[in-house]
């Protein structure tokens, strides 16, 4: 407990970020208990109503409760953000370790592949993948993961190359440790800090990308609520019912901001070069 308080004192912004992310995650998990109405329940009689006691954030054009939709939308945003980053981390780290350790043509092929992926604007790449595979939750997750993957591969490859030349790896080689064990037992643990930092920073970007796909109509499909698609649906009514756009945009911004602050704090804490 004392360690936690010490961390909180060192990184006040990061602590705020962590608390907010935790609260949003809890809200997503307990959405069925917290929501005032089912998120897909329509009632044209109360469409485009402003905030009230019955509907604290108002209703949308189909009379659905905005707060309830935001709570359920958190599941999509956090779920896609987290799942896509897990996939990107898994594949990217393996690609980075293999290319850095094996070298030669394997490295050349993997690195040219990351060059190619990095040359595409992230969002365009994601839009192209979803456009080809069809818009739904899984394809959006996959597209965001593919777009995030090359950064992991690049960073881990550079670290692997660095550690491959380190004395402790040379020592392990000289006593006959097998390649697989050198990579898994000696190199991978040393890159763990960097992986955690990149993971934390990527989650924020992934949440933003999911919202962007949703806004373009390429994310999870209606009637399932997502913050990006709520903003898209609220945009035509911004003059009569600005609360739809304000609430869904705020939800995205607060979540991304909290994840960014948390990611920054993790980076500052784990990267001693930045601790001056």
């Amino acid at each position: 407990m004392r360690d936690v308080l010490e961390l909180a004192r060192l990184h006040p912004f990061g602590t705020v970020g962590a608390v907010v992310v935790l609260l949003i995650a809890l809200a997503a998990v307990f959405a069925p208990l917290l929501a005032l109405a089912p998120p897909e329940k329509q009632s044209i009689a109360i469409s485009l109503q402003g905030p009230s006691a019955a509907h604290p954030l108002g209703t949308d054009d189909l009379g659905r409760d905005i707060l309830s939709r935001l709570l359920y939308g958190a599941r999509v945003s956090l779920g896609v953000g987290f799942a896509s980053t897990v996939i990107a981390t898994g594949v990217g780290v393996v690609a980075g370790l293999v290319s850095g350790f094996v070298g030669g043509w394997v490295e050349a092929v993997i690195m040219r592949a990351t060059d190619v992926l990095l040359a595409f604007p992230t969002l365009i790449l994601a839009v192209a993948i979803v456009g080809v595979l069809g818009p739904n939750l899984n394809n959006a997750t996959l597209a965001i993961a593919i777009a995030a993957l090359p950064r992991f591969a690049r960073i881990i490859r550079a670290e692997t190359v660095r550690f491959k030349a380190a004395e402790f790896v040379e020592a392990a080689v000289s006593i006959g440790v097998r390649d697989r064990n050198i990579v898994l037992r000696h190199i991978l643990p040393n890159t763990a800090g960097l992986i955690v930092v990149q993971f934390a920073l990527s989650v924020a970007a992934a949440i933003l990308n999911e919202a962007s796909l949703g806004f373009l109509g390429l994310g999870v499909q209606p009637p399932t609520p997502s913050w990006g698609s709520m903003l898209r649906a609220g945009y035509p009514f911004v003059a009569q019912a600005p609360w739809i756009a304000v609430a869904s945009g705020l939800a995205i911004s607060i979540t991304v901001l909290a994840s960014t602050l948390l990611g920054d704090a993790i980076r500052d804490h784990l990267d001693p070069r930045l601790r001056r």
Partner: protein, 316 residues
């Protein structure tokens, strides 16, 4: 310098080939028959469809189709749009000016935000000014461009009626109208970009402030303003310029969203519309062109290194 430029250009060719293969194959992995896209709703008889397949070469093996497409693309022929039947190159060049104007103005606005904010934050490290700048920057990168755009439209176009909500007029046609229409899109894209740059400017300035030559300059008795501008900023600019190159892709992604909100006829909108309507040739051309833009931006950055740091002009 020229041989360096040639070598850099040559190193792009394999990447460009891989990109073109990816763009080509990605779209041919898509379910659905491109003939359906060409003929539209009223599906003609099988002989007409066979004729279309032969005309477009859809029956050839994919490698043959790729080589034909790539060899034409290499000389600037990207085929014809399935939808508008116009040459894709023509569509791209029609859309290029809006995206270029939006991107360049947004980069300038981003720099106008990031340089002062990042420099002051670094010089006043650990003070409330630094904390405020960090929070502003974190806020800026967290707000999605499409949300900023919608709020700006609501405030300045619908509520206050100071600026038009959307549309585009060529600057050659009417410069004032063009600039009035570009104000909100440029703020939409430039604020987030500037926030991202601020973080790099601050980090880069901090890194350089701790270096030996800065201490030397101060020890020589140079005025602090000359140390900051002449020494620290100059070397801090190199990583900042790199970031501008690397983040061209992010800028273009933001341009897609910005063009969507403000109904700007740009490249991003062209690519998304083509992807959504399965207009393969336009989609391939637009995506290829944007990837080329990212590569070119990185080349320009490489060349700028030589200007900012003479030691690097002969390097590599």
């Amino acid at each position: 310098m020229s041989s360096y430029l040639l070598r850099r250009l040559a190193s792009f060719i394999p990447v460009l080939v891989f990109i073109s293969i990816l763009v080509f194959s990605l779209l041919h992995l898509a379910p659905g028959d491109p003939v359906d896209m060409i003929v539209g709703e009223d599906r003609p008889g099988p002989d007409v469809i066979a004729a279309i397949r032969a005309q477009y070469g859809f029956d050839d093996p994919l490698p043959v189709q790729y080589l034909r497409w790539a060899s034409h693309a290499a000389v600037g022929d990207l085929g014809y749009s399935y939808r508008s039947r116009q040459p894709v190159t023509h569509l791209i060049f029609e859309r290029l000016p809006a995206t270029l104007e939006l991107s360049v103005l947004s980069i300038l606005l981003g720099l106008a935000i990031a340089l002062p904010l990042g420099i002051v934050a670094a010089l006043r490290r650990g003070t409330w000014i630094d904390a405020a700048a960090s929070v502003i920057a974190a806020l800026g990168i967290s707000m999605p461009a499409f949300w900023i755009g919608i709020l700006l439209i609501y405030l300045f176009a619908l509520a206050l009626r100071w600026l038009p909500p959307s549309g585009y007029v060529s600057p050659a046609e009417d410069l004032v109208a063009n600039l009035r229409l570009m104000v909100l899109p440029v703020i939409t894209l430039g604020v987030g970009y500037g926030a991202m740059l601020t973080r790099y400017v601050r980090a880069s300035m901090l890194e350089c402030l701790g270096l030996d030559f800065v201490r030397t300059a101060r020890a020589k008795g140079l005025a602090e303003s000359r140390v900051v501008v002449g020494h620290v900023l100059r070397s801090a600019l190199i990583p900042i310029v790199t970031v501008i190159g690397i983040e061209t892709g992010r800028l273009l992604g933001g341009a897609v969203l910005t063009e969507t909100i403000f109904a700007l006829p740009g490249m991003g909108r062209l690519a998304v519309d083509a992807i959504l309507s399965r207009d393969f040739p336009t989609m391939q051309g637009a995506v290829l062109f944007m990837a080329l833009g990212v590569l070119l931006a990185n080349l320009v950055v490489d060349l700028l290194y030589g200007v900012l740091d003479p030691r690097m002009s002969g390097a590599k």
